[in-house]
């Protein structure tokens, strides 16, 4: 199984470390060629405006959508979740920013506040009794999800982990706190896809 981590900007190494702890090698993806050889793609945390610009410049935005439509699973954390949302609301350049539009949801950037409002907490992952460590850093809030979107974890009534077809998103960073269960879920999605 070859898992790509989009390595244009953000906490790439942290995702690679989680994958490696699960016995999977990660491949860094910066070009269309590198994208073409992976079975699944992780879009890490980072700055969503920066990431989108770099994707567009490389033509990777269209290439990712094509590969997704062919069945390649994608997992995005925080900025990665923003990039996968159908609609983004927020101020300035954050409002209406272009995204890959792969999951039917509306996401609002920086909705918890600025960095001093960032927080750590625990959330319940559907079907798992042990709570999940969740760290929200200048995190977005999912305001609306489509009817077909699975709500895998919620915080105060708002979805924080969602799944739609072969697309998985978390608005927090499991990769920063040694939490491997969301990544495991993603690996299962890839295995299912390969069968």
């Amino acid at each position: 199984m070859r898992i790509g981590v989009l390595a244009l900007q953000g906490d790439v190494v942290e995702h690679e470390e989680v994958l490696s702890s699960l016995g999977v090698d990660a491949e860094e993806v910066r070009t269309k060629e590198e994208l073409s050889s992976v079975d699944g793609l992780i879009i890490p945390g980072g700055e969503s405006t920066t990431l989108m610009k770099l994707l567009e410049k490389e033509g990777l935005d269209k290439a990712i959508v094509v590969r997704y439509k062919e069945g390649m699973p994608i997992f995005g954390t925080c900025a990665g979740a923003i990039l996968l949302a159908k609609e983004v609301v927020g101020k300035g350049a954050g409002n209406n920013q272009s995204t890959l539009k792969l999951i039917d949801m509306t996401i609002k950037r920086n909705e918890y506040g600025r960095q001093v409002d960032s927080f750590e907490t625990e959330v319940e992952l559907k079907g798992d009794v042990k709570p999940l460590k969740a760290i929200f850093i200048r995190a977005p809030v999912i305001e609306r999800v489509g009817l077909e979107v699975e709500r895998l974890a919620e915080l105060d009534g708002r979805v924080v982990v969602a799944k739609y077809r072969h697309c998985l998103v978390a608005t927090f960073h499991p990769e920063l706190v040694g939490e491997t269960r969301v990544h495991k879920l993603f690996l299962e999605m890839i295995k299912d896809n390969q069968q």
Partner: protein, 291 residues
């Protein structure tokens, strides 16, 4: 629910990796930086090249300017305080800036001590020219390090020197015997466990950017290839002939720092970079500030 933990502070720095943080002096600049793909902006009144040229005491910026910039962009906003000036830091924290830079580019307020950064909710970034300086700042609570070049010069030589210094010190100490390590920690005025942790990881234990003297996409690639996690560009963008174009080129250069073909492409037709200065022509070496 917990806030302002060390993981949260260092976590924001991790999100900035592979990115470019740009100095901006107006909300308009901040927008240009955001549009070019900056991961954050540093709000200040004068870029280092102007501080250098105009002289005088350089202080924290007017809160009005910082607030305008915070309103203008959706990316994180950083702002600078003078070394040791904890009152300026308290003011910036009350404005809710996302990161505070305790910076040698401003005129130091305390020539013995740095700010006790653990007392703050906002994460701090601090400059360093060697391993001891970096680890002292981390011990004081810094969530991120800038390996210092010489700000406002457009000359990369000092950044290269200091990045190499830190790397070589780590490499040497990794082979050292326990008693040598204890002595080194004592000389550096840092806890032995912090030094041990650093040597185990083989790098600084927090995100480390290069700052000072970066003026071209090639400069950006050079320091990235030497192993830093990202870069700050101060005067290099808004003192160049075509700031928006230069900003975009440097962002791409950092994302694709190992791809020489790409670097050639983005370096083409950028016009003049900022005017540079040789080190022996300098009256003030800002990088020397910090204790």
């Amino acid at each position: 629910m917990e806030k302002a933990t060390y993981t949260i502070k260092t976590g924001l720095a991790r999100m900035l990796k592979g990115g470019v943080i740009m100095d901006v002096v107006t909300a308009e600049h901040a927008k240009i930086a955001e549009d070019a793909g900056a991961v954050a902006v540093m709000a200040l009144e004068r870029v280092p090249a102007d501080i250098r040229a105009q002289g005088g005491v350089a202080r924290m910026s007017d809160p009005k300017l910082i607030k305008d910039i915070m309103k203008a962009v959706s990316i994180p906003v950083m702002a600078k305080v003078r070394i040791g000036h904890f009152a300026e830091a308290q003011i910036l924290e009350s404005l809710k800036v996302d990161f505070i830079d305790e910076s040698e580019v401003l005129t130091p307020a305390d020539n013995k001590r740095h700010i006790n950064k653990q007392e703050f909710k906002v994460p701090f970034v601090c400059g360093a020219t060697n391993l001891g300086e970096a680890l002292r700042r981390i011990d004081e609570g810094a969530a991120m390090i800038r390996t210092k070049g010489e700000a406002g010069t457009g000359n990369i030589v000092e950044a290269v020197t200091h990045i190499r210094t830190v790397r070589e010190e780590i490499r040497k100490l990794r082979k050292a015997r326990p008693d040598t390590l204890r002595r080194a920690a004592k000389e550096m005025r840092i806890p032995l466990v912090l030094l041990r942790q650093t040597l185990r990881q083989g790098r600084l234990p927090v995100v480390d950017f290069a700052a000072g003297g970066i003026a071209t996409p090639a400069d950006a690639s050079l320091v990235m290839q030497m192993g830093v996690d990202g870069i700050f560009v101060g005067s290099g963008i808004f003192k160049s002939k075509q700031p928006a174009k230069m900003a975009k080129a440097i962002v791409e250069a950092v994302a694709h720092f190992q791809d020489a073909k790409k670097l050639a492409e983005v370096s083409e037709g950028l016009g003049e970079a900022m005017p540079g200065i040789e080190m022996d022509k300098l009256d003030v070496k800002m990088a020397k500030r910090g204790w």
